[in-house]
Amino acid sequence: MKKLFVLSLVVLPVFVQGQEMMMKDSLTLEDLQLAVDNTAIELDDDNVSESSSCNVASLLTAGRDPFLNAASFNFNIARFRMRGYSADLSSLYMNGIPMNNADNGIIAFSSWSGLNDVMRSKDVSVGFAPNTFCFGEPGTTTFIDARASKQRRQTLVGYSYSNRSYQHRISFTHNTGFNSKGWAFSLSGSYRYATEGYVPGTYYYSSSYHIGIDKRIGNNQLLSVIVFGAPTTTGRQGASVNEMQLLAKTNYYNPYWGYQNGKKRNANESFIHQPYAILTHDLRLNNTTSLVTAAGVSIGQRINTGIDWYNAPDPRPDYYKYLPSYYQSDSTLYQEIQERLSNDENARQINWQRFYDVNRNSFETVHDANGIKGNNIAGKRSNYIVENRVNDSKRFVFNSTINTSVGRHLALIAGLEYQLQINHYYKTVNDLLGGDFYVNLNQFAQSEYNTNQNAIQNDITHPNRILYANNKFGYDYNMHISKGSEWMQLLFKFNHIDFFVAGDFSFTRFYRNGNVRNGLFADNSFGKSVTNTFLNGAVKAGITYKINGRNYFFVNGSWLTKAPYMEDVFISPATRNQIQTDISSKEIQAAEAGYVLNAPAAKIRLKGYYTTINRGMDVLRFYHDEFKCFVNYSLKNINEVHFGSELGVDIKLSKNVSFNAAAALGRYYYNGRQKAIVTADNTTTILEETTIYTNGFRVASTPQEAYSAGLAYRSQHNWFITATANYFDQSWISFNPLRRTTSTVDGLGNDDKLFHSIIDQEKTLPRFTIDAFAGYTLSLRNRHKKSKALVFYASVNNLLDNQHLISGGYEQLRFDAADRDVNKFPSKYYHAFGRMYFLSTAFIF
């Protein structure tokens, strides 16, 4: 019976705002240990790009960490990031290869989205604790063992229903275990979809597949191959300004959709399919030494769609010039526009019908088409199209790790790693929206350089190219990134003291290769850029004092440098090879210390940490409608300090009732002043070079304080129920650096209201949520005594249906410097979903 219950814990997925993870419970120690070990954390694509991951798991192998448990189950709704770290400061290995993208360091969760049933076997370390497979990152370091023979031998069929990103999920998994000839097979798949998700105009179609084959060779070798992928199409949601949310009377106003023939059509769709094949060879050389060698290949595609337009009014329904606030000087008009926008949904959304009407009436002759003199092509020239922004990505990874013990007291682990990633970025025409063709011209260059015929050409080798559906246009370039590293870790174990020291040395190399010659940047858009090479080192060390089997103290420290990512180095890779000046690696110093109690009736984790991250770089990019082009803010000298403490408590109150609580109390600041260089995509020169007064500004988009407390009741009769209350505070909105300069506040006293409206960073209101979970397992046995089970599960998140929780937001990067009106381009926000339910059932045999 108990076994069955554990089984139910293992197979039931929980979805929390697009993040899928193992359900929470806290009944018996054994159950919990298993549950945590099998926690599957998954992020959907939006979350990865907009906030970042919070892959958290157990701290020490000596027992489960109640803090991490709370962080993964309860804090996700607030987009909590552990210790305020960015997503690239965590890493994940699968079957021996690193799964962080080489281009931005983010873990490629979307490749195995929906495959929780076969991605359960995990090994997690936090901070700079030692681990057995890599040097590690300041955040969490996770190993997933998805090999066929590691999967529980069972067949599972499941169905779930929810009101979140998707409504329906069906899943199937079949694992054979080893047969007599040493073969093991695993097959898993799921299909999840919603024709309309929680947010209007969004939708979700995602299938996933996984095939695993293992072959035992002799008694000391295991050869494994897995192939998996998750093609997913979604209709996206855009952040919006408060004014629009009030007019639409919902905080989930989504500017990305509009009716077409009475059906909702989303202009910002995303398609992603990044499948992987991983071959792993596991060799046990002797009783104390093993060598794991793995190679992985991934060839995939990611497409985001959007509307492109040429010599036509801005198609975005929430464009600031269309809103009432743009007409504040005329109260009659203000009211008239307000009425129209609040009464007419179509006025608030994209007007597809108008795009078709405009395109069908747009008869034009393009002269010298396709670069041929006198070649005049006439027809309906689209003013609006849907474009695909494509990234074709190829990745090859190789990794080898040796793990050995020398005597009773020393364990040595060392590894070699190499990876190569090539991304190919380009645009294609998705839909001409009723027109006959589009022309490959750069509308951003047109107004400024109308005498220079070359400037407006996206590709001067093929000027005035006529575009039909699926034709490539706009930018077209490759990014080549290669990275190699070697590392070693020595771990000494004694009766009351463990200590370790580890080092890592790596190189990173990347360059851009332009495939078209852009008219504005004819000299540095085509061909190879300079190659950027970085040599980086890292060291870490730590000591644990074991008072007894229940009480531990530990201290870890580390120093490392980290190469910048190409997207933070290239100022505008879509147009040219230009890079930031004085490029440097990031430097991170981190220290942590803590106390751990592992007693049968109580578990306590108390940790403190202090981290500095220096010399970071970033490039922010946005469309400036007065310059009529993209403007880039290149930031340097981004220094951060993160410090705080974490507490996790899990206490068994009685045979059936347990109490758990967690608190993350941190402060994440920017330290010192950043430097900004402003450039535009229609000129080669620097528009502005200035200092950003960022000292003391907060790292945005995560609560810096998060608390939870909950009670769980578990019946002997195979059911359980839990309730948890959560509280989040100290969440800040991302700020526009160019608003924090001397010129924006010149002449204003620092007690001036206007001064503060420009300078101060916005803090979102604290928030409170309640979650409840319940589950029941029905055990079935047939005549052959084969165990079968039917599992039911239900959860409600945000029980109080609080729809006013801002889950993320940013200040627009434009600032009205002339009038210093911060409300002309106000901040845009996302809100956390209201009440969410999830019902699930599975049949296991």
Partner: protein, 647 residues
Amino acid sequence: MKKILLFFVLATTASFCCNKKFDEPPTSEIETITANFTIRQLREIHAYNNIEAITDDKIISGIVTADDKSGNFYKQITIQDETGGIVIKMDGSNLYTDYPIGRKVFVRLKGLFIGDYNRMLQIGAGKDNSNPAALAVTPIPSILFNKYVVKGSLGNTVEPILVTVDQLTEDFQSMLIKLEDFQFAPADTSKTYGDVSLASSARNFTIKNCAGSSITLRNSSYADFCGIKAASGKGSITAIYSIFGATKQLLIRDTSDIQFTGKRCNSTTLASLNIADLRAMYQTAPVTIPDGKKIKGIVITDKSNGNFEDDKLVIQQGDNLCGIVIHFTAAHNYSCGDEVEINISNLTLDNKNYGLQVCDVPLQNAVKTGTGQITARVTSISELVNNFKNREATLITLPNTTISDKTNKQWNGLLTLTSQDATLRHFALSTAKFVDQPYPQTQLKSITGAALSVNQEQTLMIRNMGDVDSTLPVPVTRADLIISEYIEGSSYNRYLEIYNASSTSADLSKYIVRLYLNGAVKAKSSSKLDTLIRTPSLAPNGIIVIKHPSAKAILPPGVIAYISDVCNFTGNDAITLEKNGTVIDVFGEVGINPGKSWTIAGNDNAAVDKTVRRKSGIVEGNTNWQQSATSEWLIFGKDDVSNLGAR
């Protein structure tokens, strides 16, 4: 089991195969509305410089006759019915995508306003009371377009009404009209339709027909045709008739409205005349030049440096050939080095101040045909004096010459040139840019200028400092960009003026202005000049005005000030002008904080709430601020922007 498997294979492939195409919508149906009011009736309810709210359910209809596709119209369309035309102001760009020429529209007038802009009638959505002397209507917001301006059928045509200029009464306002047999003035045919430099927002032309009747053609500098050259022939023009106060003007939709393809009026061919032959016509009294004659030569005077009157120039036919003075009826636009062809038919040849000249030449008689260069004749003073009649109005270089005069040792007025015991007068007008500068007091390697009879006496007139070749290093003229004006006025009224004092066009990509705050040695803000004004070069005598982002002063008409943080100065900050990384001019001293303000010409509060102008004689930068502050600047009152953009 197998069924389940099959099901999952199907489900897995579902998202590949089932991306259905969106159904293409049919074209929008045209709303059927009937007009119950005519444009003429609407116009009649308006009184000039008044704004009337329209409160009745009146609907007019009309066909769009002008849209914003070419950019010559901005935020407005013009519609016309059988009774008249009117402008509809609409707050959006690229209106042509919804309201192209030929579209029938219905305007629901209730809730709208009718007003006029300098007597040009317009419909809008609100009142703009900001200037009580010129009430205006505000444009209809984008979100309300469909509510007020209902789209009707496409592809309708409006035939332009053939008129003469005299027939154009106010009833024709905003109507599509056509004039026959018009042409641009000869001098305008070398110009582009608009001002590509965007120095002014529009360019006006006076076009004429053969009978001498004329009208203004106004083109926006933001029109996409503004870089095209004006048509050189004669023919018909189709345009929207517009007025600006009492001025009749025409607005074209694009250049296909101008069909000046025929032969120009009176285009009898002119015969070229050698300037030597022209000079020979003169004996002692004024003569009238015969009909059908033209001359051609290269301008050898430099109006831009001020040492020649702006309605006169001297052309020389070629190296060692003759030249002559041309006296226009008004100020001309030709620079030194322009090749000019002048119709001199029936004009008068007379010997007046500066020597033999063609008098009262109408500007349109001259046309620039190219550029060229005259190599000055190198000779001695005695040779020149003896052959002055033949050398008059030509370019002369006199080697080994010494300048002398009375007392002040500056260029102004009459000087004496001496070489090998012979002497010649030199004359500089008080308008010459270099007039306040000291002349070199040692023997010159050479001096170059035009030989002219100033007040009937043999004289040389140099054009600019480039004509003076000194063996001494002292007066080396490195004329370049300079900081020519500094304004620190009330509130954020802070401006800086940069002037190209050289005689060549400056490559702006080489120049950066930087601001150093409160004695700092590191620049706070910098602006590259080409980026700032989005133009690669600055012509000789060209001026750039830059301003603080919040500067609010009303500048002289036509002066554009570019926003730069470099204007973030408060009086004690240093400004430098760099060329290729080398500082060539300063205002203030980098690294020094003078306290509240720099001291200029003895005034210790000269850089706060003041306008500070570089003296007109200063044509080169001075990196020695102490020296520059003592002698090179003039101080004016607070917020005096009257001279910004001029020098």
